[in-house]
């Protein structure tokens, strides 16, 4: 058990290391002066001597590996540099906003998969009937609505014209603890998140289920006298579960990426809107931190999914070759 856990942690650390090297190199490779990422527009007003001093102070004149070492040392101690736009440590800004994003992301994630499984079962039970066809066509159309555009339409309809729901923000001023108020603000972003991801996963699960109901054990179950619903819910869905879980693991990236656009449209204060802002202002330190945190979230979720899968189906464990053992 100990080696198992330490192996997973090792994978995680290695991954984060590679990701940080990749991002660090990328941000330092930026054409133009890396000073710009620290001082922005102010660089142009600096004299040569000032620039040289600033460079020495920030260690920018040293070779890249040395710079990376320093950055890594600071990062491990919780110092990810200063966001030049907000003039605050990047980590403070991020930690203030990440809760909002997680709230939106996790709720949307849960809803997407709950609805996706329900829709997939519905389609599989009624394969090739009018119901299945209508759901498939509608799903495809809805899936291809650009999320930002759908968000705009919803704001236009429900906020501007009907005045039912607020058009942006996470809560009204002074109402941060009020759940109802938060829910009102989250409703439109949630609708967009769910509609833009739902069909992709529902269709995948539907196809997995359709492959499953063509297997022989379904005939046996049918002969035993189980109803169609019982076969699909009890047998097929359970057999598809590992692939659903791995789909869920991969989808963390997509759903998180989806929150970014949605947050920007609804000006919802989260790390997505933050990252877009910082990209606009070339705020590299903040952007790097957002990428790292997102990467960490994704890797953790994929490791969790892997572990769950290995519990459900021991054949998936690495290093154990069941085919050979037989």
């Amino acid at each position: 058990m100990f080696t198992y856990v330490s192996k997973k942690i090792g994978v995680f650390i290695l991954f984060m290391f590679l990701l940080s090297v990749f991002i660090f190199t990328l941000s330092r490779l930026a054409p133009g002066d890396p000073l710009q990422s620290f001082y922005g527009e102010r660089v142009e007003h600096m004299s040569m001597v000032e620039q040289q001093n600033a460079r020495e102070r920030l260690g920018l004149d040293e070779p890249l590996p040395v710079q990376y070492e320093k950055w890594l040392y600071n990062a491990v101690h919780g110092d990810f540099g200063i966001s030049f736009k907000y003039r605050k440590p990047a980590i403070d800004i991020l930690s203030a906003l990440i809760g909002n994003t997680l709230l939106l992301g996790i709720t949307a994630y849960g809803l997407v998969f709950l609805l996706a499984i329900l829709l997939a079962v519905l389609c599989a039970l009624h394969e090739d009937t009018w119901l299945d066809r209508i759901i498939c066509k509608l799903g495809t159309i809805v899936y291809y609505l650009p999320p930002f555009w759908l968000g705009l339409l919803l704001i236009l309809l429900f906020s501007v014209n009907l005045h039912w729901l607020p058009s942006g923000g996470a809560y009204d001023i002074g109402q941060s603890g009020n759940m109802l108020n938060r829910l009102q603000h989250m409703l439109l972003p949630l609708i967009v998140m769910v509609t833009s991801h739902l069909w992709y996963y529902a269709y995948m699960i539907r196809n997995k289920l359709l492959d499953e109901i063509r297997k022989d054990y379904v005939l046996l179950a049918k002969m035993k006298g189980l109803t169609r619903q019982q076969i699909v819910w009890r047998h097929c869905l359970r057999n598809v579960a590992p692939s659903i879980i791995s789909i869920m693991a991969i989808s963390v990236t997509h759903v998180l990426g989806g929150t970014y656009v949605v947050e920007a449209v609804f000006s919802y204060p989260g790390i997505g809107a933050l990252s877009i802002e910082s990209a606009k202002y070339h705020d590299y330190n903040l952007l790097m931190l957002v990428v790292l945190v997102t990467g960490a979230l994704v890797v953790i979720s994929s490791l969790v999914a892997q572990t769950i899968n290995e519990c459900i189906d021991p054949r998936m464990q690495e290093g154990v070759d069941y085919e050979k053992k037989r």
Partner: protein, 300 residues
């Protein structure tokens, strides 16, 4: 003798009389399974964009300051936006940019994806593992975020640089499929034969691998055209892609915040409809390409 005659009739020169004639299907029947509507609509939009200069009825670079935010009417078919530009005239020019980015981005990501996938599929096992881990790492960060990072590095974006950024960041899923296809094909005898005859890697790739998996990845390639168009419009909408002066369907939508304040739906709905219809047609064609696989009957 008569019997012989009959036999002669059956197998002889007039044998066609005894074969039930195969009805030649009418044109609409042959095309019924094909996504004819999608092809037609897509062709119409593409032609409209190519002949934008002939279609427009106002100056696409002009700002009609007396006609700010006008709803669709007989003079401005699709209305005007908050800058006073005629939406009907600029939408065709915008389509040029959007479609161009779609095709450019797709060709870049296809090239990278095929090359990376083939390399990973044919190389030694440890290189394959390394390449796949790298791809996994690359895809673990949301695409949009890497695009943001790259765009903030590139600086002021142009049509070409956006296409390159989109292409460079979206190849992973294609590379994966190519790799799994290559792994399947690789073990077949004709590759071994080609290798033992001394064929080089590019030769094998071009002559043997590519023709065999091209039909499988066609669906992905077509789908990624719409993904590129979607990504470009999202970026331009967020104000990170093309500036407002360079008209694309996405950058037309970047004015939508002002449109929300003035409740002018046409500024939002019309460019959006163009994007959706285009994406939907492309996807439909892609689905048709994929559905060529054989069908099995349900046991349920």
């Amino acid at each position: 003798m008569k019997k012989n005659d009959e036999e002669f009739i059956i197998v002889g020169a007039n044998y066609q009389n005894n074969i039930t004639p195969v009805k030649k299907m009418a044109l609409w029947q042959r095309w019924r399974t094909k996504p004819i509507v999608s092809i037609f609509v897509l062709a119409a939009i593409t032609l409209g964009c190519i002949f934008a200069g002939q279609l427009m009825n106002h100056d696409p670079t002009g700002f009609y300051l007396n006609h700010l935010n006008e709803a669709p009417n007989t003079e401005f078919y699709f209305g005007t936006d908050s800058l006073g530009r005629d939406i009907f005239s600029i939408i065709w020019y915008g389509g040029r940019v959007s479609l161009l980015i779609g095709f450019l981005g797709t060709s870049i990501l296809t090239l990278i994806g095929i090359f990376y996938g083939c390399m990973s599929g044919t190389a030694a096992k440890w290189i394959d593992q390394l390449l796949m881990r790298l791809a996994e790492m690359f895809s673990s960060v949301p695409n949009l975020l890497i695009v943001l990072l790259l765009l903030s590095i590139v600086g002021s974006p142009t049509v070409f640089s956006i296409a390159v950024v989109i292409g460079v960041t979206s190849w992973v899923s294609l590379a994966r499929i190519v790799r799994s296809e290559v792994l399947q094909i690789k073990s077949s005898e004709y590759i071994l034969a080609a290798r033992s005859m001394g064929a080089s890697f590019p030769q094998i790739l071009y002559k043997h691998l590519l023709p065999n998996f091209v039909s499988t990845i066609m669906f992905m390639v077509v789908a990624s055209i719409s993904n590129c168009i979607m990504l470009e419009s999202t970026l331009s909408f967020l104000g990170l892609g093309l500036p407002v002066e360079v008209v694309s369907w996405g950058s037309m939508l970047s004015l939508s915040n002002k449109a929300l304040l003035t409740n002018s739906w046409w500024v939002i709905v019309i460019p959006g409809m163009f994007i959706i219809v285009t994406l939907f047609c492309i996807t439909n064609i892609g689905h048709y390409l994929r559905n060529e696989t054989n069908k099995k009957f349900s046991n349920l």
